[in-house]
């Protein structure tokens, strides 16, 4: 390795951990240094391989139940309850949890927990879309092609825009399934990173963006004009915010 930046700085750049000046300097350097360009490609390739391999191992549902049961009821009781009482409490906790779990699966994004479930589904859908041949059903950078394509396939008409001039060219669209309902998915690309924007109708009031990350993917969710939007990508969180403001300002 001849270029010392290919050893470490490229990682900071790839992970969006350089400050603005550092990132700009590195981008200038990148134009002349093929070693760093290769290193960056390697990082992207490794990152997407890890994403596709789905190495993330979620906790089994039984573990949550076990933990909730062992936390026990809040506020200590004076006497030690008998074994039977504990057993009943554990059963009650399990029933409550099961009821709660089924309730939150049927309702879309209200509280933090629901957001986590939604985020997990959205990230799964994003990963599925990255499998070969799954990204787009209609390939077009022209919104006048993509928008009519959705007609008749969905019970709503998603807003479709191209932001090629602003660094987010539209790649196409497809129908996906989130929370058991058909949703529109628009695909944008940002410096080689794909961004999926999932859109479905909602009765809820408009809401500003909330964001998070899961399994190394960033997501950003907001509601506007009777539609719920959720953007997900392995691009930087700031890129999603930029795309969000483009979508909402048009």
């Amino acid at each position: 390795m001849n270029c010392d930046r290919a050893g470490a700085v490229v990682h900071g750049y790839f992970d969006n951990e350089l400050d603005a000046v550092g990132a700009a300097e590195f981008e200038l350097h990148l134009e002349q240094c093929s070693e760093c360009a290769y290193a960056l490609e390697d990082l992207e390739s490794l990152h997407s391989s890890i994403g596709l391999a789905q190495l993330y191992e979620r906790a089994p549902a039984t573990l949550r139940t076990k933990i909730l049961a062992s936390l026990g009821p809040p506020l200590p009781v004076a006497a030690f309850p008998s074994r039977t009482v504990w057993r009943w409490l554990a059963i009650a906790a399990a029933i409550l949890l099961a009821t709660y779990a089924s309730w939150r699966v049927t309702s879309l994004g209200h509280s933090g927990n629901d957001d986590a479930v939604l985020a997990a589904e959205i990230v799964d859908a994003h990963l599925r879309s990255l499998q070969p041949g799954h990204l787009t059903d209609v390939i077009s950078t022209d919104r006048h092609t993509v928008k009519p394509w959705f007609d008749g396939k969905l019970d709503f008409s998603p807003p479709v825009q191209d932001f090629g001039d602003q660094g987010f060219p539209l790649q196409g669209g497809r129908i996906d399934v989130v929370h058991g309902r058909s949703v529109a998915a628009l695909v944008y690309v940002r410096r080689k990173h794909f961004v999926n924007v999932f859109i479905w109708p909602t009765d809820e009031k408009d809401r500003g963006p909330s964001s998070g990350s899961q399994q190394g993917y960033q997501w950003l969710e907001w509601r506007r004009g009777g539609m719920e939007f959720c953007a997900v990508s392995d691009a930087a969180a700031s890129a999603l915010e930029q795309l969000q403001s483009l979508i909402t300002s048009n």
Binding site: S45, L46, I50, Q54, Y56, A59
Partner: protein, 177 residues
């Protein structure tokens, strides 16, 4: 034991990160039932220490406890027969193409095996960054690595993972199969 208000706070702030806790434990402890037990133990510890949680990044706070729990676990159960340090200079063939890397990494099994073969200090930063999406600051908090060296640690960890994927198959792990 926490009062009902604090317990509700714990269930809102900390418990939702159970998946993260389980994932980190799984990769630190090489899998299975141990990971579940360690994640549970860490969660109960977090519950006991919750009064000392000053707010802020609940996931990083929990993962710090998970990591400590796993390290103790490894010492206690003599799980710590961690892979010998892998000499990258000796084992490393010169730069394979990204395509070759993608093909090599294609199977989940190979990637799992490669990740398992890394020493735990490298494995944990890969898991935290690539699977958990932690920032360098969070990685520094969780692993107690100084923030200034997170980038270079990650860089070495990724290089080793890259080599484990593209380099000659590890004889020991084949033997295990």
């Amino acid at each position: 034991m926490l009062d009902s208000q604090e317990q509700a706070r714990f269930e809102t702030l900390v418990l939702p990160h159970l998946d993260s806790a389980h994932n980190l434990a799984r990769w630190l402890l090489h899998g299975g039932a141990d990971a579940e037990d360690a994640a549970q133990e860490a969660m109960l510890r977090a519950y006991r220490f919750f009064a000392g949680f000053r707010g802020g990044d609940a996931r990083a706070w929990l993962l710090q406890i998970v990591r400590n729990t796993c390290l103790t676990w490894m010492q206690k159960n003599r799980h710590g027969k961690d892979t010998d340090e892998f000499d990258e200079e000796v084992h490393g063939p010169p730069g394979p193409t990204p395509e070759a890397l993608a093909i090599a990494a294609d199977s989940r099994g190979r990637l799992t095996q490669a990740l398992e073969s890394l020493p735990s200090r490298f494995r944990e930063v890969i898991v935290l960054r690539e699977l958990e999406g932690c920032s360098y600051k969070e990685i520094a908090i969780i692993t107690s690595i100084p923030i200034g060296t997170v980038m270079s640690t990650l860089s070495r960890a990724r290089r080793q993972l890259h080599l484990a994927l593209t380099g000659p198959a590890d004889k020991e792990s084949i033997h295990e199969l």
